[in-house]
Chain length 139, copies 2
């Protein structure tokens, strides 16, 4: 796997990868950018949420769960001082649907974070990842 | 810091974060997606390259280096079997410019990976990150 990240101007970069899709990255004005794209650290959190979200929705669909909406929130606090780095991240899974089986949700999250999600397994080597879920009942 | 990742349809998700920028993610057709967005694991590599790239270009500009082009390649191989995850990543920095000081480049990369780059410091807790650079002379 390889990604190319090319400087456009100022602090703006465009990343492209094997899938052919491009992502614009930029820094906020406080550090000399113009906020004309995602911050790299935001992409890190999105990558974790998207990766695990794909696993969880796939598993829930295989288990014939009637999911009508699905959202993931990923939070993290960068450590203090230098050298720093995220030490903890939290993922909240919010599943909306009809007659959702709580056990299926718990198992799907467990399978994703412990077995399938490449981004989670990579980050989990050095970062403590905690999770929670919320099931929203739709009539 | 928090990111929200919302299911659109099938395996497509849209991530948004504090900066307000959104990124589309999708899975390849081999795993049930339609390849209508970046793969989460690609975002991980792009985040690393963008983060470190911003540091390196900032430092080189402060050191009055005449950089006319800058590209970063980030590669990684997911480990085999389950559980897996990236165990190694490599960043190549390709700097094009006039009279670029090699020592300044080496120092900028070192400062980024060891001190400033939040994504690199986070991944570096569990992944071996190696780096190399190439200076392309412009007349």
């Amino acid at each position: 796997m390889q990604s190319r990240i090319k400087l456009v101007e100022n602090m703006q970069f465009v990343g492209t990868a094997d899938s052919g899709h491009a992502v614009v990255m930029d820094a906020p004005s406080s550090v000399g950018g113009t906020n004309a794209g995602s911050k790299p650290s935001e992409l890190l959190l999105m990558a974790l949420g998207g990766c695990s979200g794909m696993d969880v929705i796939s598993i829930l669909r295989k288990k014939k769960q009637d999911v009508t909406g699905f959202e993931i929130k990923v939070g993290g606090e960068p450590g203090e001082g230098h050298p720093k780095g995220f030490t903890e991240m939290h993922i909240e899974y919010i599943i909306t649907g009809r007659n959702i089986d709580e056990e299926a949700v718990k198992r799907a999250i467990e399978l994703s974070l412990q077995k399938y999600c490449l981004v989670g397994l990579t980050l989990g080597k050095g970062v403590k990842i905690t999770d929670s879920y919320r099931i929203v009942r739709e009539a």
